[in-house]
């Protein structure tokens, strides 16, 4: 008796493999399943003892967890109200200087060489001519005193100013219906955010902190400051902005952090 019907698809062999092999080894094949199950159970048990509960980086576990994280991206996009403003604060509450954070220590900072610096534009943008710092400084400034909330749990109040990102994207003829705005940092740091968050009224390209040009550790000459994302979604030392429809995970998302990370 054949164990399965022969395939009729063009892409499959006209007949299945020789069934006698299966028939002869039926007993072995059946025990393999049971043995594998037993072994699997044992190794799963042993694993939990060896590593405590840290099974999180196993491929199968990561696949599930990252799928849930992707689902949570969608939920957050639905929860996001493009007109909802984050609370703002007074100048007396501003922390000076701001708190340093990067994926390396402050001693390893490589300041941007401003001599050769230009803001490059790419992707779905009509006018891709690079921007000098002087031209960016000449744009109308928006100041916001907002909370910086880190994924770790700390927060501080900062006073940021610079051109509004929506105005800037409009000015350079970016496709505002595109899905993502990607920021490339000087230290190979890359982050992408969704277009609705990029167009939020409290999202700016910050050039100043507390009225003075941002200093090196905090993103000189240009960084993103948005009141609607966690801290790590605010790249510093920006050297290029890209508008695109294709998703690319940023530095921290590749490590497993949630991409949307909206506040």
């Amino acid at each position: 008796m054949p164990l399965r019907r022969p395939f009729t698809s063009l892409f499959r062999p006209q007949r299945g493999p020789d069934q006698t092999v299966l028939t002869e080894h039926r007993e072995l094949i059946e025990t393999i399943g049971r043995r594998k199950l037993l072994r699997g159970t044992l190794s799963l048990g042993a694993l939990t003892m060896l590593t405590g509960c840290n099974i999180s980086d196993r491929d199968a576990v990561q696949t599930v967890l990252r799928a849930v994280s992707g689902f949570n991206d969608g939920v957050q996009a639905l929860l996001f109200d493009p007109n909802k403003l984050a609370p703002t604060y007074t100048a007396s509450q501003v922390v000076k200087p701001p708190r340093f954070n990067a994926y390396y220590e402050i001693e390893d900072l490589k300041p941007v060489d401003i001599g050769g610096w230009k803001l490059e534009l790419s992707g779905l943008i009509a006018d891709k001519r690079p921007w000098s710092l002087e031209r960016i400084y000449a744009l109308p400034e928006q100041e916001e005193i907002i909370k910086h909330i880190c994924v770790e749990g700390w927060d501080y109040i900062g006073q940021w100013s610079g051109p509004n990102l929506r105005d800037f994207l409009t000015r350079v003829g970016a496709d505002l219906t595109a899905k993502y705005v990607v920021f490339h940092g000087n230290d190979d740091y890359m982050e992408s955010i969704d277009m609705p968050s990029a167009l939020h009224p409290q999202t700016i390209l910050a050039t100043k902190y507390a009225g003075e040009p941002i200093t090196d550790p905090f993103g000189f000459p240009l960084r993103l400051r948005t009141a609607v994302k966690l801290g790590f979604k605010n790249p510093k030392w920006i050297r290029a902005i890209e508008v695109t429809n294709s998703y690319s995970p940023g530095f921290w998302e590749k490590q497993g952090f949630n991409w949307f990370s909206g506040l």
Binding site: L65, N72, K84, F257
Partner: protein, 217 residues
Amino acid sequence: MKSSIIMHPLAVRLMHWTNAAAMIVMIMSGWKIYNDEVLFGFLHFPEEIVLGIWAQHALQWHFLGMWILVLNGLAYLTYGVLSGRFRRLFFPISPRELVREAVAALRFRLKHTDLTHYNAVQKSLYVGVILVVALQVVSGLAIWKPVQFSFLVSLFYDFQGARLAHFAGMTAIVLFILVHVSLAILVPRTLLGMLTGGPRLDASRETAVTPSPTSNP
């Protein structure tokens, strides 16, 4: 009248153990997230008891457990209200009885012979922990979405206040679990009841109450 209702119907048992699993995931991953930026300098949770190698894994677990906890919790609340279970088992709570039984419980003199009837201490602990979990969801939402749900943040003064409340809620839940599990082990019939369903509600009423030197979960 012959009733076929058992103490813990299958739905309740499924929701109880689902909640237990989700709660363990939430607490252990929460400890790892906490370790990244502690509220109290003296308190770091040992790596052996946290879930997640790095904070991002703990966050992944936390935001998976969140769905199971909330959906299961909503199903439980709906069931508890509609079936009359909450009304039958948790209410009324007499303050006078509560004080008397709390004192008896602390002296290990509180009898627990009829599994189908909760004493005032049990009632307040069960109702209390349900309220704490509900508050935990509120403070959790405030931390997750401090801009979209800024009105929730203001309930806790500010963002750090919400973190503190979330930590306090965790502490209360962990204390509840310690008491709950210890007493369930002391009175194994209750643990068995949550696995197999326990006594029939009418049958137990007719059974003669025999004193037993046990406490209550």
